[in-house]
Amino acid sequence: MMRRCTRVFALLLLTALASACNRPQQQRTVVNFWAMGAEGENIRPLLADFTARHPDIEVRVQSIPWGAAHDLLLTAFAGGSQPDVCQLGNTWIPEFQAIGAIQSLEPFLADSSILPRHYFAGIWQTNIIDGSLYGIPWYVDTRVLFYRSDLLAAVGYDAPPADWQQWREASQRLVARNPEAYALFLSTIFNDWQVPVILILQNGGRLLRDDDCYGAFDEAATLEALAFYCDFFHQRLAVKNMSEVANIFQGFNDGVFSMMITGPWNVNEMRKRMPGLSDRWSTAPLPRKVNGVSVAGGASLVIFADSPRAREAWRFIQYLSQVNTQQAFFRLTRDLPAVRAAWHTPEIEQDREIQTFYRQLEEVMPAPKIAEWEQVAVKMQEYLEQVLFNKLTLPEAVRLLNRDVDRILEKRRWLRARGLL
């Protein structure tokens, strides 16, 4: 018995010695970072630079495809295998905050170089839930108007439509001139809830009321904006069936439609696919109503709730938020920088189309910041589609939509009433 004890003791001593010998060699803290799609694939060159500056931290990046990211993150959190720091689409932040997966960054913010005024106000807002900050914007996007300058000029518009009135008029004239074509392409596929939401916000309306616990789709300003949206389809000004255009680039090139609302990723795509069209299209901030807002998009960096390496993760976030890192990241991915000072580089300043996004980003608003937002958005799309195809009238659709949304938000009301959320 005695003998066995000594043997075990010796073994323990040996392992302790061995690990002690390893220590001075360099003890690195490993920070696990999950990034999605192109960002995850292209970030590696920056990691070497970060390690050079912070020899005590090693960032391991895991690239996950966008399509699976949401499920993967939730299951990872449920199973306790979440990363330390992660890229999160900014409409997902409320959901991950609600389930307690991510931590407030307020304590870190106090003595750091990251300041809210370095960012676009509307984008910064997407990271604030109940007055507390949960993410730092990494890159940004939003939707603007893409238009065919030649076709608009042919109907008497030397400048893109500036407000709703002009927008509708220009559309009517475009279709009057060429009845075969449409004026507008507003994506109606599921999950692309952006355009109706933008119109509602521009009209000074809201989607939800009473602490985001009930649908507000029947309110006057909201209803008016939705009617404006549906009219584009009912008057045959906007493309209704996706099958009528092979793809948006071809449709834009062939003049099947002259205007569309889409994001920054299509600027380079359009240049690449339709080089011959270069001097005949451009971008502009969205036509205005009460205001000219677009929806705040992009992704933020978040730290998971019980990460033991939160301090190191924060240093990595700070590094990614420096002006020159942001510019290097733009060169790697073409994602628009979240830090405004990073836009002062010739590549961005001399690009007319990208400058449009800068102007639009000064005027963006977040989508409703609730965990159930995507469910609400999909429901809204479902009912609007039925209005577009004349299966329901708008007032009927809005009544049913409000009823369904109230049901979706029932749990939220219960949790809020009991202080559980």
Binding site: D71, L74, E95, I99, G100, A101, A371, K411, W414
Partner: protein
């Protein structure tokens, strides 16, 4: 315990233990879950779960999407099932013929779709179904049939899924039929021929009755298997267009893993179990009655 009764239990223990841990426990857990509103909020904190009795089941009965999914699934089962069995039976009879040469090769060929990954197969079938460049429409155009938008048209999407499923699955049932055919003793056919039965007569009065147990087994298996339609719409259509290929299990998946409505998804699972169980019972009873008669 007596030694003699103990020993079998020791041998059974590993299998039973695994089954208990990874099958019966999760099933029991999801049954309990189906009486709660377990959702995304509950992941972090169990205090956010409410026990709500039969509420999920009540809501399910008035959920138009669930009915739509059930109807689609029934369409798939009652059109695709018999078709699969028919194709399997006919190919099995063909392959059983002694006059056919290279029989093992044909058998292999028909069985390959069964063992091929559906995801790989789906890529090919999406090309075949392509409305403009697909092989199927090309062949149809030779018979002056207009272009069909197989996966894009709500009318055609389910038939397209059925054709794919029949092609993918018939090989398995063909093998079972083939085994059944080979157990039919030759002397029955000889006797039938002596009685002057032609090919049809032999098929009706010898082959089919002798195959009855096999047919029953195959029907039961397709019924159970086809009600759980999921992978085909998942890889081919994502339930679209306009929910025309939304199956019960796909709807369950959407509710559970897209919206994280685990309570509701569990209720769907048990509802489906109940439906399959009842239909299987009906089939068993019908078979028993037939045997008694």
């Amino acid at each position: 315990m007596h030694r003699k009764t103990l020993i079998p239990w020791i041998f059974l223990a590993p299998a039973l233990g695994t089954l208990l841990l990874f099958f019966f426990l999760p099933v029991a857990a999801s049954l309990v879950m189906s009486f709660t509103d377990f959702d995304i909020y509950a992941i972090g904190k169990l205090a956010r779960v409410r026990f709500n009795g039969l509420e999920n089941y009540r809501r399910l009965l008035e959920d138009p999407l669930f009915w739509k999914a059930l109807l689609n699934t029934a369409y798939f089962v009652f059109a695709g099932g018999p078709l699969t069995i028919l194709v399997a039976l006919l190919t099995a009879i063909g392959l059983n013929s002694r006059r056919l040469r290279l029989r093992p090769w044909f058998r292999l060929g028909y069985f390959i779709p069964v063992i091929t990954s559906l995801v790989a197969v789906a890529v090919v079938w999406r090309y075949l179904y392509h409305p403009r460049f697909g092989l199927i429409n090309y062949i149809l155009s030779m018979f002056h049939v207009g272009s069909i938008n197989w996966l894009g048209d709500p009318q055609w999407a389910m038939p397209a899924i059925i054709i794919l499923a029949v092609w993918k699955n018939f090989g398995y049932y063909m093998m079972i039929f083939l085994a059944g055919l080979q157990t039919i003793p030759d002397y029955l056919y000889e006797a039938a021929r002596l009685d002057g039965a032609n090919w049809w007569g032999q098929f009706r009065h010898v082959t089919l009755p002798q195959l009855a147990p096999t047919t029953f087994f195959v029907t039961l298996m397709t019924l159970i298997g086809y009600f759980q339609l999921f992978a085909e719409p998942y890889v081919m259509t994502q339930g679209g267009p306009i929910n025309s290929t939304l199956s019960v299990v796909f709807y369950l998946y959407q509710q559970g893993f897209r919206w994280w409505h685990m309570g509701y998804a569990s209720a769907i699972a048990f509802m489906l179990f109940l439906i399959i169980f009842l239909l299987a019972m009906v089939q068993m009873l019908a078979r028993k009655r037939q045997e008694a008669a």
